[in-house]
Amino acid sequence: MKDNKLKLVISHSPHVHANNSVKKIMYLVILALIPELLVSFAYFGLGALIVTLTSIASAVFFEWFIQKFMMKKKPTISDGSAIITGLLLAFNVPSNLPIWMVIVGALVAIGIGKMTFGGLGNNLFNPALVGRVFLLISFPVAMTSWPTPGGQNLTAYTDAVTGATPLGVIKEGIKNGETIPQLMDKIPDYWNMFLGHMGGSLGEISALALLLGGLFLIWKKIINWQIPVSIIVTVAVFAGILHAADPNKYADPLFHLLTGGLMLGSFFMATDMVTSPMTPKGMTIFGIGIGILVVTIRVWGAYPEGMSFAILIMNAFVPLINMYSKPKLYGEVKRNGK
């Protein structure tokens, strides 16, 4: 009888699974990054293409190489997390960055940012940002000469015409004693900024495209709304207070929201599952922290942009936040003295 031959599988319940996987999550994130990628191709052309492809290819290669030969385990590059790291790293550098610098960035991002901690899931800091900050500190000139969007730059690469980012213009201007209203004339208007027509890293320019991708991820429940919303609200409120105090010295909140890596950071970098807190409460604290740090660095710091630093600093606080932002227990009892 066939019953006798049955060799059943035994395991703990539950015996069914939601059928989501890391792979699925990662590819949805990549999908959400596509609009911004298209915008960057449209504005930066060839340079964006070269930098993006180099970054993804080298990130995937380093992940494979390290897992295969140094950690001696089965490579997991097909889960797509290295592709995302590569893509986000590319999004965080100017489109005229030399290829070798991109490769070095990817090596640092994957090698130091991710694999030294034990690979996906164990890293403390966002790998792409580790790579980016490494490049920014090592090659400040190359990392802060931003090609201007469109025009002849579409076919240029390292020889692209460069210009300052709006944030850079403001920072420099304030230092030279100009006032905000004067400086506002030197930068694109808000509508153009929203669409992405401004200088900057190749993936941070279009708030519109990033917003689309971000909302898609929130809708798909890949990311929680708490982090982006708390960052944006904090930045708006903090910058708003400063602007109200001295409109000549401090730019208005909308300017802060549309420029630099804020949108990219709040929807795609800060929300990285591995390096963000576990509970909604913790996520809100995390977002508020990032918001305050960003404005602080932008207004008073040495760098015109502070998103990467803000996120990395808050990454370091995540274990602490996790410890103090426990989810509310079902039927929590308030005991005296406990």
Binding site: L6, H17, A18, Y330
Partner: protein, 451 residues
């Protein structure tokens, strides 16, 4: 219309796969050899009253409750006690069981009313009801198998306000409660009235998920004949059938951590249990049969059966159509909380609500990876715990940390393992941690009592 009620914290949505929802109950044949375990309930094993060679009648008491939390066991067949020996049960361990070889002719124990007539009058006092329920060995038939009479005697100083009848059946595949509500509606209503009388409450609410519209409609219609019983449709979400989740969904109250439903004035009983109470009180019928769903994606004839307790699962499956080809896993109970069977020799017990087949391709666990801290387990946990953390600390045997993080509040619903994108065996470890911590707490308590 206002949004349907459901519980607030966490929850998941497994595909419900209720293939057998429109299949009426079929009586399964009597087993040739009934294997009746003496531990079919939470608590102490029942004390065996018969010996090898004894003749027993159907419904005869063969093992008696020992201790406060324990339940009587009755013979489900007429026949001869062949042996009292260890036999494997759904838990995968061998436990003491009474083997009874069935005679051709069925003889019922005296005083049992086997007719199908509805008896509506309840002439008994609350004490008499509790006594009858206890005598009949009724236990919670949703799966927890907690002795029902204990639930009907609230600890002194606590008073029940509401009786909640659990018709949620949030486990995928299972349809026995659904069919019971449709086919035994009046028995259910009278059973509810009996429980209300025993508890001294005026209000009973039957909670039903909205994937059973026919049951909601039918019960709403007939509930008008019975005073104080109302029907509450609920939004589908797993684990709504959990006692604490159901109370939260219907009453909006939260049972305090470490407490019992009675602490918020509620008593929850399963639909099947309520019908068993009806039979026990009105018909003197002990708990000797139960309803079982046999189903599965690769099973050709998913159906519902009324099965005598002690029937080997093998016999039932054979009657239902045999084990389908390429079966990789067989589950006793629902797929979220049920136990994978290691042997089909295990019998149907008081708590076995289903036999579910899984084809080989769906039977295997996927290899698991490191946690990616996506926090999905935290967001789906209906108890508000952090499963990722509890698993890690259990793995590292840091039980004190697990205890501090309320591992004992876990209801073992499996939502965390269900949702985890890296297939981590969260509940596997949490169960281990929970048990270890519970043992520690018990040991501490015992030590305190000594002092």
């Amino acid at each position: 219309m206002v949004a349907l009620k459901t519980f607030k914290k966490g929850g998941v949505h497994p595909a419900d796969n209720k293939f057998s929802a429109d299949k009426p109950f079929v009586k399964a044949p009597l087993p040739k050899m009934a294997i009746i375990h003496v531990t079919q309930h939470l608590g102490a094993p029942a004390k065996v009253l018969v010996k090898k060679g004894d003749k027993v009648k159907t419904g005869q008491l063969i093992a008696e409750a020992s201790g406060f939390i324990s339940a009587n066991i009755h013979s489900s067949v007429t026949g001869k006690v062949m042996k009292i020996d260890n036999a494997i049960d759904a838990s995968g361990y061998k436990k003491t069981a009474i083997f009874i070889r069935t005679d051709k002719e069925e003889v019922w124990e005296d005083g049992i009313d086997t007719s199908e007539d509805l008896v509506k009058d309840i002439p008994y006092s609350p004490q008499e009801i509790v006594e009858k329920v206890k005598k009949a060995g009724v236990v919670g038939m949703g799966g927890a198998t907690f002795p029902t009479n204990v639930k009907l005697t609230p600890p002194p100083g606590k008073k029940a306000e509401y009786l909640i009848i659990n018709g949620v059946e949030c486990e995928p595949y299972l349809t026995v409660d659904h069919r019971t509500m449709l086919e035994k509606g009046h028995e259910l209503m009278v059973g509810t009235k009996i429980l209300m009388k025993a508890l001294g409450v005026n209000q009973a609410i039957i909670g039903i998920e909205n994937n059973k519209p026919d049951a909601i409609e039918y019960l709403t219609k007939i509930s008008k004949e019975y005073e104080g019983i109302s029907i509450q449709p609920l939004k589908m979400k797993y684990p709504q059938g959990g006692e604490k989740q159901l109370i939260n969904a219907i009453l909006g109250r939260e049972v305090p951590s470490g407490g019992l439903p009675i602490d918020v004035g509620a008593v929850v009983q399963n639909v099947g249990t309520t019908v068993a109470v009806y039979k026990a009180v009105q018909k003197n019928m002990p708990l000797i049969e139960r309803t079982v769903t046999v189903s599965g994606t690769n099973f050709s004839n998913p159906s519902n059966y009324i099965v005598r307790i002690g029937t080997p699962i093998k016999d039932l499956v054979e009657f239902a159509g045999g084990v389908p080809e390429n079966t990789g896993k067989i589950i006793a109970g629902g797929p979220m909380t049920g136990k994978a069977l290691s042997s089909l020799d295990a019998p149907i017990q008081k708590g076995t609500s289903g036999v579910i087949f899984f084809p080989d391709e769906a039977a295997h666990r996927k290899p698991y990876q490191d946690c990616i801290r996506c926090a999905k387990c935290v967001s789906v946990c209906p108890s508000g715990l952090e499963p990722y953390l509890l698993m890690t600390v259990t793995e590292k045997q840091m039980y004190d940390v697990a205890r501090k993080n309320h591992i004992t509040d876990c209801i073992e619903c499996g939502s965390c393992s269900f949702i985890c994108p890296t297939y981590r065996p969260l509940l596997d470890y949490i169960r281990l941690g929970k048990k270890t911590v519970m043992d520690q707490i018990r040991a501490e308590r015992a030590q305190k009592q000594k002092k």
